[in-house]
């Protein structure tokens, strides 16, 4: 299995995998009690999106720290690629979250602790790109956005542990626990679909991320050739 053979076959595998996950989400997994109709099924898409948003933030952090140490333009490209995907997935997670909240508690936003953390993560990504847009010089843009990513990472633990605990006291009745996992008893089949979806969405993130980085690598190589 050469690298290129792997690289061509993996996307197809992901394609089929996600079709199976979707079928599983709607037909294989039983409907959950205590939910209005089939609304709970959105969780098979909402939780993985939230997970990928957090994963992308960690990839962005690692690339940012590496940029601050080695000052390689490719590390900055990696950080930006991860942040772009992080932004997209945190928007998706926020939207699916509020859709779910709307069906369940007929209000698009009811300050569910985990939703607040995802929304703040979305604000961090938006601020990260506002900063990148505002700085013209490439090297300075890379340095400043890397510094902001590290700074934002420091507040993450407070975001995850402090905010939910406080909001929890405001809304004790929400069933989505502070730990980010749905509190409902997960039947084995539900768990299988959720894990399958997590794997699928992570695969999608990795695929898009590598595409973006390969594109950046080509652009940097061309730039170096022009400059050489």
């Amino acid at each position: 299995m050469t690298k290129t053979a792997l690289r061509t076959s993996l996307p197809w595998l992901l394609g089929v995998w996600m079709v199976l996950v979707t079928l599983g989400a709607f037909f294989y997994a039983p409907s959950a009690e205590g939910f209005k109709g089939e609304s709970a099924r959105i969780v098979f898409f909402h939780v993985p999106q939230a997970w990928v948003a957090v994963l992308a933030f960690c990839v962005n952090l690692v690339a940012s720290v590496r940029y601050l140490r080695r000052r390689k333009a490719l590390d900055d490209a990696r950080a930006a690629a991860a942040a772009r995907l992080g932004l997209v997935f945190s928007v998706l997670a926020t939207v699916t979250g509020s859709l779910f909240a709307n069906v369940m508690w007929n209000s698009f936003w009811n300050w569910d602790p985990r939703e607040v953390s995802i929304a703040i993560l979305l604000l961090i990504y938006a601020a990260y790109f506002a900063l990148r847009e505002a700085v013209v010089d490439e090297e300075r843009r890379a340095t400043l956005s890397a510094a902001y990513a590290v700074l934002a990472f420091v507040t993450m633990p407070f975001l995850i542990f402090v905010v939910p605990r406080i909001y929890w006291s405001l809304h004790p009745d929400t069933i989505i626990g502070a730990t980010g996992k749905l509190k409902l008893e997960m039947e084995s089949r539900m768990l299988q679909v959720l894990l399958g979806s997590l794997v699928g969405f992570t695969g999608l993130f990795v695929w898009l991320y590598t595409l973006d980085v390969r594109l950046a690598r080509v652009r940097l190589a061309r730039q170096k050739r022009e400059e050489g």
Binding site: E139, R140, A147, Y148, A152, F158, I166
Partner: protein, 229 residues
């Protein structure tokens, strides 16, 4: 070789900040007037009597921190933005150690916040009829809050100082970082208002102090990278 210590260099930066601020009073006016006008607007609209009894504890502490936060953002970014605008930043870069600059600017922002709080908070309590049972614990929460807010604002100010549209960018970049802090400050203020016991504010204080401390520590590593090219 280096006769002076970091402390004396930081104090030199602080002294310069205070001297030039007292002469121009730009940040002081921004923060003071913004705080006062928002307070008057809020007090006039809401006033002590229109909030129901059971909502008062949370709403009054949340409103206080909304006013304090936005008043602060209008002035806290100046410490670095004015250095870039006046082209004194490069001179300072070539004369001082980065950590001394960070410490001096942090202390200045801390004093600015302390001035804002001592000016606005009593006025707020009077105008809004906010009775605080634990005044010493509220003072503690305000002090810890000032340290944490100054730590975050100073490093964010350094990051945006050389970007275009710096002042608006400052608000956009500091809001997500400060939100967890504001949540804890609001909770701490509520606890301080509700009971005189110091223990009431301890959980919030622990969170504020550790977030402020973590931010300060990471700023010491990040600032030299941000300050120098």
């Amino acid at each position: 070789m280096r006769a002076s210590t970091l402390l004396s260099e930081s104090l030199a930066v602080l002294a310069k900040e205070l001297k030039s601020e007292l002469r121009s009073r730009v940040a002081l006016n921004a923060v003071g007037l913004f705080g006062l006008t928002t307070l008057i607007a809020v007090a006039y609209q809401i006033g002590p009597y229109q909030i129901q009894e059971q909502d008062r504890p949370h709403l009054l502490s949340a409103l206080l921190w909304v006013i304090l936060f936005f008043a602060a953002t209008s002035g806290l970014s100046r410490v670095f933005v004015k250095e870039e605008d006046a082209h004194t930043a490069k001179t300072l870069r070539l004369a001082a150690r980065p950590v001394a600059v960070l410490a001096g600017k942090f202390l200045f922002n801390l004093l600015l916040l302390a001035a804002l709080y001592t000016f606005i908070v009593p006025l707020y309590c009077a105008l809004m009829g906010y009775s605080v049972k634990g005044v010493p614990s509220l003072a503690l929460v305000l002090a810890a809050g000032a340290i944490a807010l100054s730590a975050t604002s100073t490093i964010v100010a350094a990051i945006i100082a050389r970007a275009s549209g710096a002042t608006t960018l400052f608000a956009i970049l500091s809001v997500p970082l400060v939100l967890p802090l504001l949540v804890m400050l609001i909770q701490g203020t509520r606890a301080a208002a509700a009971s005189a016991a110091l223990a009431a504010v301890l959980p919030a204080l622990r969170g504020i102090v550790s977030l402020g401390g973590a931010t300060l520590i990471v700023s010491v590593y990040l600032f030299p990278v941000v300050w120098h090219d």
